[in-house]
Symmetry: C2
Subunit: 237 residues, 2 copies
Amino acid sequence: MPVPRVRALFFDVFGTLFDWRTSLIRSLHAFGARSGVACDWDALVDAWRGAYVPSMARVRAGELSWRNLDELHAASLDELAEHFGLALGAEERAWMVGLWHALDPWPDVAPGLARLRESHLLSTLSNGSVALLVALARRADLRFDTILCAESFRHYKPDPETYLGAAALLGCEPREAMLVAAHNDDLHAAATLGFRTAFVARPTEYGPHQDKDFTASEGIDIAVADLTELAGILAHA
Amino acid sequence: MPVPRVRALFFDVFGTLFDWRTSLIRSLHAFGARSGVACDWDALVDAWRGAYVPSMARVRAGELSWRNLDELHAASLDELAEHFGLALGAEERAWMVGLWHALDPWPDVAPGLARLRESHLLSTLSNGSVALLVALARRADLRFDTILCAESFRHYKPDPETYLGAAALLGCEPREAMLVAAHNDDLHAAATLGFRTAFVARPTEYGPHQDKDFTASEGIDIAVADLTELAGILAHA
């Protein structure tokens, strides 16, 4: 049976499209400079991102009722602020959580997505909230055909409901859908459900602490250095 | 208490943005001419649209399990084909249902939305399916920030879940959200939930059979002739 053409591309967002670490560190250093608040901002950012998977795991396990990523980010910030000795007012806390809505994309993302959209349906498939993803896309002037994410299905990746729900809403069989991500675990979860997969290398996502996802692991369909390379490959597929 | 600024505009789609009747009639007349199939196509289109509200009512009442509008369109076409003495093969049937994915917008829609998007978040809020709305938006080159619809919430308008769910996903209170529609009943359902409302006159939507929605009824916030007029009003709001 021939493999059908990929019709829809689904994009992981944090790390794959947006350089969250550099963006957050820059914003928090600027905050420190103008407010006089001292903190090891780099360590705070890494710890904040470090709380991401465990916080979602509590929702996925049913230990916490459904809540979106903004709420998880706020709760982990509260714990980290205490740990880092950071006294945050309500307004500063909301501003910091909102920094995840104002990240900078990697430089290949805008031109790569524009080319890919000529031939494919494009959607996000992120654990971020709808409002967060809409804000990121607007700020970076990225054009998706729709925004789909964990919040659309009330299931965080890698729950199967998120991948399968997204393909179904765009009218695709899983094998007509491709997940594009910088993370092998996300790609393998999608592949198990029948998705095609494309690995995009983001070797500086975690800065000096990156210890995985330098290359695609076995079983990933396509591995590229950036989205313009992916657009070149898919244009001839 | 001052009324907060409207942050997100939600658009009804069939009739409000797209001239479904003219589009379907044109496509079906062309089909009849090239296939030699004779039918009162105008009457078929009106009857097909006439089946829309009753078919959704059966889902809303729980008489039918959730199914999206493409499935409802296919089921009503089957009944109408029998009534009109139309023998449709599987491929023709799928093509006809797909005509709802290929409608033409009213001429003010593309420039109006582009202006409105400069200052507001834009989303669909339609009873159409996600895949249908994505196809309509791509074909007409309309840029929404996301696609939300009955299928996102598994509730057809005017169920409150659809309006309230859409505002919540964009991070808005209902009073920060405005429904834009050509139908007074849709607008009143939204207003009851706290939405702001804008009526757009589409006096030829139903062709010679239009018998309502020529003007906004009482309690609608804004009434305009088209989306460019709405953009002018909201730019100064």
